[in-house]
């Protein structure tokens, strides 16, 4: 193959890896927004907590990959439900600004709490034997394959749950109307908790994969990745699950392209400028529907 094509294929592969991690986190943002119309700014830090659970399970319990992943997802889901029950539920009828501020505060709390317990960056032991294949110049590692396919698998599973099961039907119903759905016997509080658990669990899975791909973790790692995932959710139309997946791969692609042509410090600038322009021009994203305000 010619040099150019090899280079591009390599970049596309990198974009897919980055995009699938963004997508898993973006799903949590978009699900919570869809059901509560609230931006859960602490979600990026749940991802970070997931990475730290992965570190604990792999180092202190010495578990192999699959149990570590499972344990991390359960742990992150518990953190998500705890946040929802203790902090967001009492504020459900308060002004919306209160919920945003609480979420920001909770994010900072998770960061600094982890920092207080783990002051130095941690190294994740290699849980998987990393094999690299050379496909005509394009190098493909087993880790990349696992990250991409596992994320896609989880996304399809989520899509199935939301569109084909009773729980998913209840979620969509609550996002449609919050006044009459409880009258139909849908346990609203339970469904909201389940939504938070699923979103946080996916963020935990993303944390594990991120920690395996970039094995040095610190308490502030969730801030930037979290915001990027949030941008992905906005690109796809926040509240829309399929949109979040598409948005994540678009953002991953854009970021990889930027770092390919410019110094890597321009990456955040481009990502946030994209966000600014998008909100001014098309705030409902690619797949979202414009909402008109009625007087």
């Amino acid at each position: 193959m010619s040099e150019g094509i090899v280079y591009w294929l390599q970049q596309i592969l990198n974009a897919l890896q980055l995009g699938s991690i963004y997508a898993l986190i973006a799903l949590g943002y978009t699900m919570v927004y869809g059901i509560l119309t609230m931006i859960n700014f602490a979600h990026g830090d749940v991802f970070m907590v997931g990475a730290f659970f992965c570190f604990l399970a792999a180092t202190y319990l010495g578990l192999p990959f699959a149990p570590t992943l499972l344990l991390t997802m359960i742990g992150a889901a518990l953190v998500g439900v705890l946040l929802e029950r203790l902090a967001y539920k009492p504020l459900r009828n308060a002004p919306r600004v209160s919920a945003i501020i609480t979420a920001l505060g909770l994010g900072l709390f998770l960061e600094n709490f982890t920092l207080a317990l783990a002051p130095y960056p941690k190294h994740i032991p290699p849980l998987l034997e990393n094999v690299s294949w050379d496909l005509g110049g394009v190098s493909l590692s087993s880790l990349q394959v696992i990250i991409i396919f596992l994320s896609l698998g989880l996304m399809f599973l989520l899509d199935y749950v939301v569109h084909r099961t009773p729980v998913g039907m209840a979620m969509r119903a609550i996002s449609w109307d919050k006044t009459f759905v409880p009258l139909m016997g849908v346990p609203v509080d339970l469904i909201i908790s389940v939504t938070f658990a699923i979103g946080a669990g996916l963020a935990g899975a993303a944390g594990t994969m991120y920690a395996l791909a970039y094995p040095v973790i610190d308490p502030y790692m969730g801030i930037m990745v979290g915001w990027k995932a949030f941008i992905s959710a906005v690109i796809g139309g926040i509240g829309n699950i399929r949109g979040a997946m598409i948005g994540a791969f678009i953002l991953g692609g854009v970021e990889i392209m930027v770092t390919a042509f410019f110094p890597s410090t321009y990456r955040d600038f481009v990502a946030f400028t994209l966000l600014l322009l998008l909100i001014v021009v098309r705030p409902y994203g690619i797949l979202g529907k414009p909402r008109t305000q009625k007087v």
Partner: protein
């Protein structure tokens, strides 16, 4: 006796000379304290931080409290003001020879920040609520990464070696100026417009409030004050870098606004003072001095442990405080209430009736 005291107090508050006299005393103290070293250097520093935080809090309260929008961009405006002023005093103005030029640099910092405020103000004509919050966040991040990418102003390393030009009298002057400007704005025609936008934007548009102009002015005034605070902050800290002005700085100001209570200038002043003092109290060195002063047996076993770990845990306490305030004390110290002294004389009766509907007119 009690009644007589209350009567005297009320009479005192109505006197026209009260505010100028208080200001004069304040200015006198601000000049005298550093001149005669009445308080130690550390307390003087804390006083200056309190002043800067009052500027930040009162100006953010204009947007987040009175107007009911949610802005996260305050640290970004601060950064713009800080960098503008620092570059002016270091590269352009001969401040070493003429320290009198310092307020010019502060003013320029505020002006540039106000112009930057347009970037947020213009989208706010169409976009409200969560999405405007995201725009302000994007603005903050963009400012940070633009500064990081310009090598001339130090990039991610920042600017070291700024001259220490911020003094207690200057901080006092700018604090008073900010409170005066925002108080006058809030009780002016435009201030009523700001309040009506918070209640219902469409309705106030119908009532022929020029919402665009009101938002324009509110955002520009707020970011001007943030720029001034940034300029003062840079010349106090003597070192600035993009990391100083990140989302954590904004969160600090948000805590002070909501602790003090929204839509209240007096609350903002109290909130900023209380929070800054608390955070300084939780500093390991301050706590060590304080625990030393207590009788030995009280904290002795814990002493060493507390001092060693406080530095990290105070960063845990800070966001937890914000969440607890939001959950259990959403009004803050004086949400939507105001000291009588801040309310113009013509509005006082109406204000009292609003807060106490039972009173006969």
């Amino acid at each position: 006796m009690n009644i007589a005291l209350k009567y005297c107090w009320n009479e005192l508050l109505e006197q026209a000379w009260l505010v100028p006299v208080l200001l004069l005393i304040g200015f006198g103290l601000a000049f005298a304290i550093p001149e005669y070293n009445w308080l130690n250097k550390y307390i003087q520093l804390v006083l200056m931080y309190i002043g800067i935080n009052i500027i930040l809090t009162v100006s953010l309260n204009l947007v987040n409290g009175y107007m009911g929008e949610f802005s996260l961009a305050h640290a970004g405006f601060m950064a713009v003001g800080a960098y503008t002023a620092a570059l002016l005093t270091m590269k352009v103005l001969p401040v070493a020879a003429y320290p009198v030029l310092f307020p010019l640099a502060v003013l320029a910092g505020g002006m540039v920040a106000a112009v930057m405020g347009l970037i947020v103000a213009v989208p706010s004509f169409k976009i409200r609520g969560d999405y405007l919050a995201i725009i302000t966040l994007a603005f903050l991040m963009i400012v940070k990464s633009v500064i990081e990418n310009i090598d001339y102003i130090g990039g991610p390393r920042g600017i070291p070696g700024i001259k220490r030009l911020t003094t207690l009298p200057w901080v006092f002057f700018w604090t008073v100026a900010t409170v005066w400007m925002i108080r006058n704005f809030v009780y002016s025609k435009y201030g009523r417009g700001v309040l009506s936008i918070r209640e219902d934007e469409i309705a106030s548009d119908l009532m022929s409030v020029n919402t665009k102009r009101v938002k324009f002015l509110a955002f520009m005034l707020s970011s001007f004050c943030a720029g001034v605070a940034g300029a003062l902050f840079a010349h106090l800290l003597q070192f600035i870098s993009p990391r100083v002005f990140d989302i954590i700085k904004t969160t600090d100001v948000l805590i002070m606004v909501y602790l003090g209570g929204i839509a209240s200038i007096g609350g903002s002043i109290l909130g900023a003072t209380a929070y800054t003092a608390l955070m300084e109290l939780l500093r390991p060195s301050t706590m060590a001095a304080l625990l030393d002063w207590l009788p030995e047996f009280v904290f002795n076993p814990l002493n060493q442990y507390i001092i060693q770990n406080l530095g990290v845990w105070r960063m845990v306490i800070m966001p937890l405080l914000l969440v607890l305030v939001m959950l259990y004390w959403p009004r803050g110290i004086m949400g939507q209430r105001e000291f009588r002294g801040f309310i113009p004389r013509r509005d006082r009766v109406a204000h009292r009736r609003l807060n106490d509907p039972g009173e006969k007119p």
